[in-house]
Amino acid sequence: MVATVKEIKMPKKPVPVIGSLKGMLNMGKYMFTKPVTTQYPENKGEIPERFRFRIFLVPEACVGCTLCSKICPNHSIKMEHWDLDRTGLENNVVQTARGDRKNLQNKRNIYPDVNFGTCTVCRQCEEICPTDAIYLTHEFESARTRNSFTYSPEELTMQEEDVIK
């Protein structure tokens, strides 16, 4: 045990009734201050810069390395086969002879598929991704009635409003 132990000073015992009255006034004065709670749907409050929630995917950048699914602590990320057939994805994407569009870097055509029901937003997938293909954004209002919380790779590229199931 160490020497720098400090015995606490006992505070003065309050005088009966008067002490209580003092305490009441001490709390009662907050009657005249402004409330500090934020009224949520109308007033969203200030979202800190590093706050993250919803996972997004850049399919052109994804190389299908499966590191994100490995590091996900509760196995929310699974790799899923997905043929890139959307238009508008230019870099690294080429038109094959059959008319399919392919990501050349992603030979196996596997992309992450995230279960938001179990995601704890630990941001380790973002941390480990070698090409920054998977990233998290401020978007957090993803609550709605649906049967499945699992987002397919295609849904991960869309904004939250478009992913209505």
Binding site: V2, V5, G19, F51, K70, C122, P130
Partner: protein
């Protein structure tokens, strides 16, 4: 003649923080015996830790003492870094210290507020939670998470401090000093609060040691044992603070020790902010895809001072990328075990006051 009735305090009861069940044997209003049932929040985190990589387990430790997440992470990372002989940059260590102390303040805010709440005093709880909210805002600024932060990583922290965070911490500290005194006054001004706490729930130091009780409970029994002083980790030996001790051994002593520790925490944070050096905030050996390849072999047992006492983590590594065995020595588990000893022969109201002052967190008791 034995006229007694059995009363359930918990698992679903207004005064149990978290879920555990006290089966109280009552003779009229007097508590004759208490039998504690725990395990309602058991997730077997130790098994889950064995199944996943070293780096993944941080979030499971977050969820042990969920109101004091930073210290839990720190406890685990201390063990892991000792196991792997991982160097932690100086700046990262100072940042960890600031965060650990802020987290301690945040956890104490719950504890102190809940003492009032369990005694039927509604208002201070909201004030303490407002202060806690400010700390959680700082946590969000720094890490992106409010409560289960996942801020510290193996070999450092995930994200560096910036000017905004440091300013916010400074601002918080400067207003918190006055606010703390005011909140404590709210509780201590009332003589009923004294009546309910003074001389209630006596814990003799011998009993406390016998049960392995640590933290504020032990310090309120007169034994000034604090790991931050006795076997310093991080840079706790480079900052100046005191270990408060109360000789009263009762609920009031525990409350006052917790309050005094808050003042000391503020002092520590102020010194940390003054000493915060520049430099790297992570160890490149544990970044990017190297995170999955971290290996460790051997046994380690390290301890930190969490809000409820000595939180020890035992890790045995077999040289693989996953720990072979993880065991957490949880302080709340030990602190809760002594409750029957403290509450034999008191009134039921005193039992509630004692449970409030013990402030065991169910997530940590059950793990």
């Amino acid at each position: 003649m034995s006229h007694w009735i059995e009363l359930n305090v918990g698992p679903v009861h207004p005064s149990t923080h978290g879920i555990y069940r006290f089966r109280v044997k009552l003779n009229e209003e007097t508590v004759e015996d208490v039998d504690i049932t725990i395990g309602y929040l058991h997730r077997n985190a130790e098994k889950i830790c064995e199944l996943s990589y070293f780096v993944n387990n941080i979030i499971y430790f977050d969820r042990m003492d969920y109101i004091d997440a930073m210290n839990m992470e720190l406890a685990y990372l201390r063990a892991v870094e000792t196991l792997m002989d991982m160097e932690v940059p100086e700046r990262a260590q100072w940042i960890r210290m600031i965060m650990a102390e802020l987290s301690r303040i945040a956890a104490r805010m719950v504890g102190i507020g809940a003492v009032g709440l369990d005694l039927g005093m509604l208002t201070p709880f909201f004030h303490t939670f407002h202060e806690r909210e400010k700390i959680q805002k700082i946590f969000t600024e720094a890490s992106g998470g409010r409560q289960e932060v996942n801020y510290m990583s193996i070999g450092g922290v995930y994200q560096d401090f910036n000017e905004k965070i440091i300013n916010e911490i400074r601002e918080f500290i400067s207003q918190f000093k006055g606010k703390l005194e005011e909140m404590v006054k709210m509780l201590l001004d009332s003589e009923i609060f004294w009546q309910r706490n003074e001389g209630i729930g006596i814990l003799e130091p011998e009993v406390a040691l016998d049960y392995g009780v640590t933290g504020p409970m032990l310090r309120a029994s007169g034994i000034g044992y604090d790991i931050r002083k006795d076997s310093p980790y991080l840079f706790y030996d480079k900052v100046d603070f005191e270990v408060p001790v109360a000789k009263t051994k009762d609920n009031l002593g525990r409350f006052l020790v917790k309050v005094e520790e808050l003042r000391q925490s503020i002092r520590i944070i102020e010194q940390c902010l003054a000493k915060l050096p520049d430099g790297p905030y992570f160890n490149p050996k544990a970044k990017k895809s190297a995170m999955l390849l971290l290996k460790g072999q051997g046994d380690v047992f390290t301890r930190v001072e969490s809000e409820s006492g000595e939180f020890g983590v035992f890790i045995r590594g077999d040289g693989g990328v996953k720990p072979y065995r993880v065991h957490a020595r949880s302080p709340s588990f030990k602190n809760l075990a002594v409750v029957p000893e403290m509450t034999r022969g008191v009134l039921i109201a005193d039992l509630i006051a004692t449970i409030a002052s013990v402030d065991a967190v169910a997530g940590e008791v059950d793990r």
